[in-house]
Symmetry: C2
Subunit: 236 residues, 2 copies
């Protein structure tokens, strides 16, 4: 019998935020697969599950997904990763591909899931807690209440027009991947007359270097930085 | 020693989507508190945890939060709920207030959390899997990829202008509480030239009456209905 592929969200960093379902599925699988951007890279997702899942008896599979500018090159790597996983499933092994946060939020798993199904294998997505939920929880702030909306936008230089639209049209805005764009975000907020006090920075959530606090011009923040802007203010 | 208050997300419906942390926190607490809109109402959150947490040894506390149009009346009910929980904490008892999905996503807990802290009690938010993540997982669709944004908006008659803006400006839109506004959503999509094939309806996720499928004019959907619109199409 063929194996199947699980796409498993391991949550934002705290091992205890793994779901019962994720823990059970990983434990039942023969292989734990994890994506990396460079060969040999340490996997945060694997580190997250270690304290709560015994991985010593599992086969570990590193899947290389490079960040090449060419979509064709990226697809080649995805094809190679699928080849490797499908070969294992053909041999009857179940594969747990683990991913940070939730698989439906910016994860490579959803790019390959359909293709794997089309190759004739069963797949299942196991939801996880997204990082922005945990960040808001740690900051003690709701993402949204009542009939408010929430916009989630990643910040990059080319993406700032989208951030601008989100700041115009929504009460609550989660700006992800904000590390390199902090100055541009501050400039946008100033331009729109949104006080910086409306922003809460959430950096390296769940890590030793975790920071949750105000957005301050000139200050350096960690690589995994999300900014939550609540235009009605950060008080409820 | 005073007890403390936990706001615990129990996820979207599947008991196995409870996090290890939520299960542990509820098990350690003396009291399980749950919000209802009417006295004596059945609690979905309580039903979700039953199969994975032994609630028989716990004190159960029903908290009534009415949906009165007057904010003053609603605040009176919140004050009464806080009085009851704080009295228990004063007696040294830990309280687990359980809430569907994630506490930072439209939950009453975040409305009272600050006030409870100001009354001098410790609080902790335990994140859960939001329903829209699980709905997308069940539909086999990513919420967003790469540099895409996601807008989450609740639909109600007065809120349709916000839904309209979200449909204009975002690639991916989650329309929550869509039960009574399906026709208005279809009208908006038609007006904007967004094919109905771009929408996936997710109803009563995790329940016996679960439905995941196309958005069809004239069809009746369940009370807990969310619509996911992906303007690039529902195929990846």
């Amino acid at each position: 019998m063929k194996g199947m592929l699980y796409g498993i969200g391991v949550g934002p960093g705290d091992s205890e935020l793994l779901t019962l379902k994720a823990k059970g599925a990983i434990e039942r699988c023969d292989i734990i697969a994890y994506p990396v951007k460079k060969a040999g890279e340490k996997s945060t997702a694997l580190e997250i599950i270690r304290p709560v899942v015994d991985v010593s008896s599992k086969e570990i599979m590193e899947l290389l997904f490079v960040m090449d500018p060419s979509e064709e090159v990226r697809q080649e790597y995805r094809d190679a990763a699928m080849d490797e996983m499908c070969a294992a499933m053909e041999a009857g092994k179940d594969v747990a591909m683990i991913t940070l946060g939730d698989p439906c939020v910016y994860s490579t798993f959803m790019r390959i899931c359909n293709d794997v199904r089309e190759r004739g294998y069963d797949t299942e997505v196991v939801s996880g807690v997204p990082s922005f939920c945990h960040g808001a929880a740690k900051a003690g702030l709701p993402l949204m209440l009542a009939y408010e909306g929430l916009a989630i936008v990643p910040a990059s230089e080319e993406n700032m027009p989208k951030v601008s639209v989100a700041l115009d049209d929504f009460e609550n805005i989660v700006i992800m991947k904000a590390f390199a764009s902090i100055d541009a975000i501050i400039a946008l907020m100033n331009e729109k007359g949104i006080p910086l006090e409306c922003a809460t920075v959430m950096s390296n959530i769940g890590m030793d270097t975790e920071y949750i606090g105000p957005l301050v011009a000139g200050r350096k923040y960690g690589y995994f930085t999300t900014v939550l802007v609540k235009k009605e203010g950060s008080r409820i």
